[in-house]
Symmetry: D2
Subunit: 350 residues, 4 copies
């Protein structure tokens, strides 16, 4: 960290800062420039309770942090991009993850139809939520344990790993036998107790970006999970909140590249929740793939007009199939490995 | 709810909508206008899983919701503004709540000095957190149980109720004997399990607005708490996230009036966290009071430069005293009742 | 337009609304539903000074607009997507526009090198600004007339049309002989006098989206240009302002699809200004193409570290060439026509 | 400016930076710290075309600007807060400006009633626009020259200075004989040609904050006006664009204090446009006064339901009178001088 002093800072103020740094276990190094004095602070800045206290010392202009505030998830020299194994699926590296299924498990039939469509389209992971996080207490909250059974059936039927949202630490035990990836929703991104509980299972954790989370905050939340000893973390961009009312969220695709520069963790994109609108899912899926993301997650529903949750964004099975064929071609062109099942299905990977 | 059909919608499409409404237990009422057809839907719209499914029916242009999606917390005919009793303190109605104390309990001495300053300035409630929600896993996370003991001492010493943040349902039991108001932080606004756990204690709950929560989402979160049977809810505006970097958050004071029009719950303002800067606390406190808020919550610290958390926004005891005198004068001018202890302390209430 | 009355609205209030509508030349049509009364308003709602006045009539709950507020630029039945001819280049429809060149014309040599790189990479239009809109009055403001001469030379040398930003109506006359597309910058999106002045030349107008403009406001600004009698309008998404500091702006790629659904005008994307960072230009270019945009505009500079404006986002000539080859392949895969010059240059269009 | 090098930067990279700084006329000063090397750059950084070019030199981590990028409008040592004389009115310092009148001049009768209400309430300046900046080309655009005549009549009738919006440099000549303060609207904040044209008249300029302008950008826009030689600049906060739909804009009252810390210019607040809603004008007016603003600007209309522009936010004459009495009391309590006309009108200034 560097402390930049105000141009008019006095010697007494400079001493005040060096003393404060020393008191917090940091080693100060003063450089007197023509414009202003700069004080370097060497040591474990993260051990300081709150760096911002230095900003209010007399004579201080601003603080400049040198090292990234996250460590375990950062892409440092010598780190390769992470590859995470989830059952038969690999996520990250040169692999491409295609996650599809119903937004929520509603009935055995609906789940079966949606998962069949997903598997046919080449999904490498199935999705299907049994606990739903709803803005209104009067909205459908998920099937709970009954849904978990349905999900387990679909998992067994297709031999594919499954991802489902977890809302509370108390649900982890019930889910751990069925779920391969615990998904932390956008509204829970900074629910650190929940992150820890999922991390401690050793299973993979998918961390959605909060609606108004900066990329740095998102990576710090991942650092919470990582610091519990589990680095099987998958990041998921799902749109941020902006002033634009035409889409439910603003899908921030440049965040994918930024994260890939700053972290070794894989980043997937959720164009269904990221746009909220069926007609935008296909273009945003292809955009995300060409932008270099490590995977895509899409909602599919046999009867969106009957869906109990997020129907307007669900693709029909046929729409999913058509899109997936284009998506896999594009993923291959981007240098991603395409599963044999998809390639042998006669896709033209050009 | 009203379903507005596209101008070119066919009879078959109109029938499709009336059937869908009926299937969801709503009673349709079709009005054919010169410009377009409008279909009213009478019944319990909240019993429908997700109203948005109607928006994707063929021929539908848009949905218009008539009733507010929250009920228990809404300000309807016949409702008076709520007054909440917390120990000797009253919050809401014509009362004015002044909450002050340390952001976090750090040491017995620091807590004692900060609480003494708060009490001297006329605080009606003390604050002091023992569990801290920090963006970085390496930052100070609070004293926990040891902090709770310190807080209990200050509570006994001044005979004032206390408010403290709760991060996880598992902490509720330990806190319930000391804490009079459970505070749900901005990042937990939609942690509905936590809201329920606090509600079920019967104690008052202070619900901070999420960083990017709309007012409607905030009131729906309050509705979650209320639907657990506890209406002792205090809302707290603490700034929203915008593009402006000069302040940590943008304090949205117009939200106070909007909430007071839509809900009977009291709304207080936190200018300390809402601005992040000591020099903005005094002007924003006075602005909030003149804007009609039901109370103010302020951080105070005997040595902000040594604070382990949010030092840059803490007032010094003297600064708090000066501000509080102005604040009480203004609150009285706004028609608020001023506690006898404050009035008898010689404040000129003009 | 539909006026939705409050459930408790009285007959007198309903009459008040029908009278107000009639007074403004609209024909009211009252539908009494079980939940509330709805009043349709037929006629030229745009002739009313300000529709919002109806919202404050006694008993009114809300207004619902049926028709889009823009007409000439909307994609209505029977409209095909527009194709705009600019010298030898076609923009829109199945064409793909590739606009490249220096952000600003700085010297004859710099402009020549940048334009040569653009032409070699297959640019169909050259860019190069001579008037710069800078946040600080102390920053480089462009070469003006001298820059226009340099731009004219490059135009003649490569036989390509050019686009340049116009800041003020007074510059239009000087630019009209050189410039083929007048570009209206993001900060001028609602400078309607400027839009009109450019429109009246009959030349094409490129309208960048304002930093905080909704899509509706953007299309209404295009409607200003269109209502001056010129429909040769190209829209350009260039990032919106959000809370995220990691990128200069948040490139809103879903806006491209939304606009293509609502309007017949072509939409291009500027990943250079949209991200502000060289390392993000390539991924965001490919993302935009796969997302279905009608063209791309990229800054190139032979020596970005010497650039007088926006150096951090400029590609080097070699980087542009590598990216362009990928971009053209992807554009062809998306069904776009690729210019013969590019195809014959040996690109593998797979 | 300080250039912070990456920890692993080489000597060659450090030399590269010092050479680049020298080439741009800056004098480098290298400090080698234990964590990283820091290079101070002394000299006229504003003479450099674009400081950001240094950020892309090899080995550079980040740039830290020391001096504020604006000079003439900054609050530096020795500067007093500005007081601006506009006819008989003083704005800034310990004065309090109360600007009221119709949003737009619509008819002689409407303007007369609105201005009479304003004058009666103690307005020190009248408002009334004759050119309107409307999002839609089909909305009322103002009366133009005819409106200017009406405005001149009201000015003469009450002997009060007037403020009106100017949209284009071409309107300045026609307005200059009537208007005392040229108002630059939010959408024109960075229309620097317009700022210059107004500045050169020598009349006062009111600069509204752009919808998504940071405080730094706002002050830089003021610097454009100031650098034309006219420091009679009044800043006006009028709400920023955020995600919250309940209010038309989010009034950013903390910006008032921030600007007063950074600049010597007076800052007023427009609660009418800042909220868009009549019911929020009174609380936000009082909040702004208690927050320390230098003045308030309010729309008043004798018949808001007939207004051709922004009717929903206009106060009725009676509402203005009631609010103004409270407002003047509060302004006096804040230490502001109250005009004799107001004081002698029997207001209780407590």
């Amino acid at each position: 960290m560097i402390v930049v002093m105000q141009p008019e800072a006095t010697e007494t103020e400079i001493e005040g800062v060096t003393e404060a740094l020393t008191r917090h276990g940091l080693q100060p190094s003063v450089s007197r420039g023509a414009e202003c004095t700069v004080i370097g602070a060497i040591g474990d800045v993260d051990a300081v309770g709150d760096l911002s206290v230095f900003s209010i010392l007399s004579g201080v202009d601003k603080l400049v942090r040198i090292s990234a505030p996250y460590k375990l998830v950062s892409s440092r020299e010598g780190h390769r991009r992470s590859t995470i194994r989830v059952g038969p699926a690999l996520i990250g590296g040169t692999n491409f993850a295609f996650i599809a299924g119903p937004c929520a498990v509603e009935t055995p039939e609906q789940a079966a139809e949606a998962c069949a469509a997903a598997a046919k389209a080449g999904a490498t992971v199935l999705r299907g939520d049994v606990y739903k996080h709803r803005t209104s207490p009067y909205a459908f909250q998920g099937l709970g344990a009954a849904g978990l059974e349905i999900l387990a059936e679909q998992k067994a039927r297709f031999g594919l790993p499954v991802v489902a949202e977890v809302l509370h630490p108390s649900e982890v035990d019930a889910m751990v036998d069925v779920v391969d990836i615990f998904r932390i929703g956008a509204r829970n991104m900074q629910n650190f107790d929940l992150l820890r509980a999922c991390s401690l299972t050793g299973k993979a954790v998918m961390l959605k970006r909060g609606l108004s989370a900066t990329i740095e905050e998102w990576l710090l939340a991942a650092e919470y999970a990582a610091s519990s000893g589990n680095l099987n973390i998958i990041l998921c961009e799902r749109g941020i909140r902006t002033f634009e009312p035409a889409t439910r969220n603003t899908l921030d695709l440049s965040a994918v590249s930024v994260v890939q520069q700053k972290s070794h963790l894989p980043v997937i994109v959720d164009p269904s929740h990221g746009t909220g609108s069926r007609s935008l899912v296909a273009p945003m899926t292809l955009a995300a793939v060409a932008g270099g993301c490590d995977g895509i997650m899409i909602d599919v529903h046999p009867h969106p007009e009957l869906a109990r949750c997020d129907g307007p964004q669900a693709l029909l099975p046929d729409e999913l199939q058509t899109l997936a064929e284009r998506m896999w071609q594009l993923a291959a062109w981007m240098g991603r490995e395409v599963p044999a099942s998809v390639a042998s299905a006669g896709h033209d990977l050009g």
